[in-house]
C-alpha cells in the first residue's frame, strides 16, 4: 500500500504522527497490538481499508 501511494516509512510515520521506530515495529509485524486510533490514522493517510494493511496469519507455535 505504501509503494502504491509512493510513500516512505518516515513520511507515513510523520503523517500518522507516530515515531519511525514504532512504524517499523508495525511494518515488521513485531507489534503485539494496534490502537484503533493508530489504525484509523494509517487508513486515513493511505486512503485504504483496514483489510488492505492487516491480514490474518496462523501462529506458527500453534
Amino acid at each position: 500500500m505504501m509503494a502504491k501511494r509512493k510513500m516512505s516509512l518516515g513520511e507515513l510515520a510523520e503523517r500518522v504522527d507516530i515515531t519511525p521506530a514504532n512504524m517499523s515495529i508495525l511494518k515488521t509485524g513485531k507489534a503485539k497490538a494496534i490502537r484503533i486510533s493508530t489504525l484509523d490514522a494509517i487508513c486515513r493517510v493511505l486512503d485504504c481499508q483496514p483489510g488492505d494493511i492487516i491480514e490474518y496469519r496462523p501462529d506458527t507455535d500453534e
Binding site: I18, N22, M23, I25, L26, K30, A31, K32, A33, I34, R35, T38
Partner: protein, 230 residues
C-alpha cells in the same frame, strides 16, 4: 512527574533504612550483650582463652527446643511474699567438657553443624547483597521508566531460593546439635526436641518472595505488551 519522584524518594528511604538495619544488626550480633554471635562464638573463644592449656575439650550447645516436665526452677526476686514464680526452660545453652580423645562422635556431628551454620550465614549474607542490588536496580529502572526488567525477576527468585536454603541449613545445624546433645539428657527431667526444627516463618517468607517474583514476571509481560501496542 510527581508520582515518579515520590516512588524514587520511597526507594531511597528503603535503601537507607535497609543499610542502617543491617549495620545495627551486625553490631548487635557481635556486641557483648548480643544474642547471636556472642553466645556461640564469643563464649567458645572466651572459654579457650581462659583455659588454653586444658586437656579437656569443651562443646557449647545452643538448644532451642527443650521440654521440661514441670515449672521447677524458682525465680529469685520474681514475686512478692505470697506469689511464687517458677520457670520451665524452653531454651538451654549447655557446656560439655570431656578429656581430649573421647569426643570423636561429638566432633564429627559438631563439624557438620558448624559447616551448615557457616554456609547458611554465607547464604544470608548473599541475600542481603542481592537485596541491595535489587533495590538499587529498582531505583535505577524507575529513573529509566523500565521497572519490570527480567534481571529483577531473576534476582527476586534467587532471594526466595537462598532464603529457603539458608533457613533449612540453619534448621539442619540446630537439629544436629539437638541430636548430639540429647543423650546427655537421657535420664534427666528435660527432654530435647530432636524433631526437625522447620522455621515456618522464613519458609513462608521465601514462598511469598516467589509469589512476588511471579507478579513481577506477569507485570513484565504486561509492560512488554503495552510497549508493543502502537
Amino acid at each position: 512527574m510527581k508520582t515518579k519522584k515520590v516512588i524514587l524518594r520511597r526507594m531511597t528511604v528503603l535503601y537507607v533504612v535497609f543499610f542502617v538495619v543491617i549495620a545495627l544488626g551486625i553490631v548487635r550480633s557481635f556486641a557483648e550483650s548480643g544474642d547471636t554471635v556472642h553466645v556461640g562464638f564469643n563464649d567458645g573463644w572466651n572459654n579457650t582463652m581462659t583455659a588454653p592449656d586444658s586437656d579437656n575439650v569443651g562443646f557449647i550447645y545452643e538448644l532451642r527446643t527443650v521440654r521440661g516436665t514441670a515449672y521447677d526452677i524458682p525465680v529469685c526476686g520474681g514475686g512478692t511474699d505470697s506469689v511464687m514464680v517458677c520457670a520451665r526452660p524452653a531454651l538451654l545453652d549447655i557446656k560439655v567438657e570431656m578429656p581430649d580423645g573421647e569426643q570423636t562422635t561429638e566432633m564429627s556431628s559438631n563439624t557438620y553443624a558448624v559447616l551448615y551454620v557457616v554456609l547458611a550465614a554465607l547464604l544470608y549474607g548473599s541475600i542481603f547483597v542481592i537485596l541491595f542490588i535489587v533495590i538499587g536496580s529498582l531505583r535505577r529502572s524507575i529513573r529509566r521508566d523500565d521497572v519490570f526488567q527480567k534481571s529483577n525477576i531473576a534476582l527476586t527468585r534467587t532471594i526466595g531460593i537462598l532464603l529457603i536454603a539458608a533457613s533449612l541449613l540453619f534448621s539442619l545445624a540446630s537439629w544436629l546439635e539437638a541430636k548430639a546433645a540429647a543423650p546427655y539428657f537421657a535420664n534427666g527431667p528435660y527432654v530435647i526436641d530432636t524433631s526437625f526444627p522447620f522455621n515456618m516463618g522464613e519458609i513462608m517468607l521465601g514462598v511469598l518472595i516467589f509469589i512476588i517474583a511471579e507478579i513481577f514476571s506477569i507485570s513484565s509481560m504486561l509492560s512488554e505488551e503495552q510497549k508493543l501496542t502502537i
